[in-house]
């Protein structure tokens, strides 16, 4: 089995593509069976289109999927925030399903829900897993101003009504390709019910919450979901996830919240102030620092304690303009009852440890890893900064120094583990294939 991955960074996407074709894709003898292409998210849409056309034309590839991400990493290299990466393989051991695309996925879920499980369930093999990339968070420039409405008295008092209004608004914005990644939670639950037992995926993303794109062969889309499935009788697909839960600090109770994940009150008090207090962060310092940013927020990691004793991570985003807090709580976890949550402190070392833990769990039943695909939260990237390469070193340490892998820094990460859906943020999900 031939596997290869690599990064090329340059301000010109044309040069990036030429580099990827020559240095990564052409290293595979013959037409690759699968090609994952990821570009960083600041190039023009027309440039991505040209890039995909060039790749498909030059390589003859039929199974290309990909998307745009703020950063992309591969083994043995410092990730890039300006360029692209390719991950590709060829071999009889793995069968790759023809990639599928579902446009307007935020609002048109039906086709996906009925068709995708059918394709998945028709695959007969000892081991199989789906791999999908879906559109991630994209907000309007004045999104924070609009969210102020959710801090109003009626929004707190009449939550049910606002949930209905909220889902209507979500649908309306979703049609325009706007919204968070929470729609994926619903999709995962449907897939799991319909016997999709294993899946891994991530959300294409722009760090400024602007345009993000998905690719299938030479087509470029926004607001879509693209995916494929891998199956094999000889290769096993192990997958897992982890997050940095090394330092738990304080508990709190989410008392007032909306289905969209907007937290109005914590411990019965306005969420923004309350959370800052829990974090011991003086509000004047916080306001001074974040006021000048339209999007940048104080992003913090929390976890909901689950029945099995494990935590489900989510992220909260304070913004000086809001009294409440935006969160990535999965809609399926939002119940009428108060939600007990705990605050975690992320650290560079904790991020490295959790990356190793993810790889370690994914290779549990694999002796000889062949490749890996990791979906890593862009927030973890921001915390690690220029030490991000260390995280990939941890993955390489567990997989083996010469095992090719790709890391996509995404808007949210998700998996289905033996029919258990897991929609998370601030985490790392990983797929490892091997014998």
């Amino acid at each position: 089995m031939q596997v290869n991955s690599g990064i090329v960074s340059n301000r010109s996407l044309k040069k990036v593509v030429k580099g990827l074709i020559n240095d990564v894709i052409f290293e595979i003898k013959g037409i690759p069976d699968f090609l994952l292409i990821a570009f960083t998210s600041k190039y023009k849409r027309s440039d991505y289109k040209k890039a995909l056309e060039l790749i498909t034309q030059e390589t003859g590839i039929k199974n290309l999927i990909g998307g745009t991400f703020p950063t992309i990493g591969v083994q043995n290299e410092i990730p890039t925030t300006q360029g692209g990466a390719a991950f590709t393989f060829k071999g009889n051991e793995i069968k790759v399903q023809r990639p599928v695309i579902y446009k307007n996925i935020r609002t048109k879920k039906k086709k996906f829900i009925s068709e995708f499980p059918r394709i998945y369930n028709s695959i007969k093999a000892k081991s199989k897993i789906s791999f999908v990339l879906s559109t991630g968070p994209k907000l309007q420039p004045n999104a924070m101003e609009q969210l102020k409405l959710l801090d109003s008295y009626p929004a707190i008092k009449y939550q049910n009504m606002f949930n209905v209004l909220g889902s209507g608004l979500e649908w309306f914005l979703g049609k325009q390709g706007l919204g968070t990644g929470s729609y994926i939670d619903e999709l995962l639950n449907y897939l799991a019910i319909n016997n999709v037992s294993d899946l891994i995926g991530g959300a294409t993303f722009d760090i400024d919450l602007q345009d993000n794109y998905q690719f299938v062969n030479n087509f470029i889309h926004s607001n879509s979901l693209v995916g494929t499935s891998f199956s094999s009788d000889t290769i096993k697909f192990g997958h897992s996830w982890a997050f940095d839960k090394s330092e738990k600090t304080r508990e709190y109770s989410i008392t007032h919240k909306l289905k969209s994940g907007y937290i109005q009150k914590i411990n019965g008090e306005r969420a923004n102030n309350q959370l800052l207090q829990i974090m011991d962060l003086p509000s004047n310092i916080y306001n001074e620092f974040f006021e000048r940013f339209s999007y940048a927020n104080a992003l913090y990691l929390s976890g909901i304690k689950e029945e099995d004793g494990d935590y489900h991570p989510f992220m909260t985003a304070n913004h000086p303009k809001l009294k409440g807090v935006v969160s990535t709580l999965p809609p399926s976890k939002i119940t009428k009852k108060p939600i007990k949550a705990e605050l975690f402190t992320q650290s560079g070392l904790g991020i490295q440890r959790s990356a190793y833990e993810c790889a370690n769990k994914a290779v549990k039943e694999i002796i000889n890893p062949k490749f890996g695909i990791f979906i890593n939260c862009a927030n973890r990237l921001l915390i690690a900064g220029d030490k991000i390469a260390e995280e990939n070193k941890k993955l390489a340490e567990r997989l083996g120094e010469d095992v090719p892998f790709i890391t996509l820094y995404s808007g949210c990460e998700f998996s289905i583990f033996n029919k258990k859906p897991m929609y998370t943020t601030v985490s790392i999900h990983g797929l490892v294939a091997g014998e």
Partner: protein, 119 residues
């Protein structure tokens, strides 16, 4: 392409990143090896660049003395990232104060490691 032109090209890549206003590769004595600027010359930028040039010998001494790979200065309206390149170079990236320093640091580090091969 000669290594000088390769260095220039890497600096121009960095300059294309959002919020980056200037990129200068200094030698530790403060000599400019190569530089790249956006087109908007302002007195502020010139002042900051002069400040960088004057302080490079001191910054590089600190970096070498304490084995620092990266030093960040956040002035009132400008962020400056200094990345050590081997024993002899300091890659300096000037960005405005809304720049995402984490992402900028990732790419600057990447470029620093590439440029080291040409020095």
């Amino acid at each position: 392409m000669s290594s000088i032109n390769r260095i220039k090209s890497e600096l121009e890549d960095l300059l294309e990143l959002e919020d980056v206003e200037a990129v200068v590769l200094f030698r530790i004595d403060g000599s400019v090896i190569e530089s790249s600027f956006d087109n908007n010359y302002t007195s502020r930028k010139i002042r900051v660049l002069q400040w960088c040039k004057d302080n490079i010998p001191r910054v590089s001494q600190e970096m070498r003395g304490n084995n620092l790979q990266k030093v960040t200065y956040e002035l009132s309206d400008t962020c400056i990232l200094f990345f050590a390149i081997g024993k002899i170079g300091i890659l300096t990236t000037l960005a405005n104060n809304t720049a995402n320093l984490s992402l900028l640091a990732v790419e600057t580090k990447r470029k620093a490691s590439i440029i080291e091969n040409y020095m």
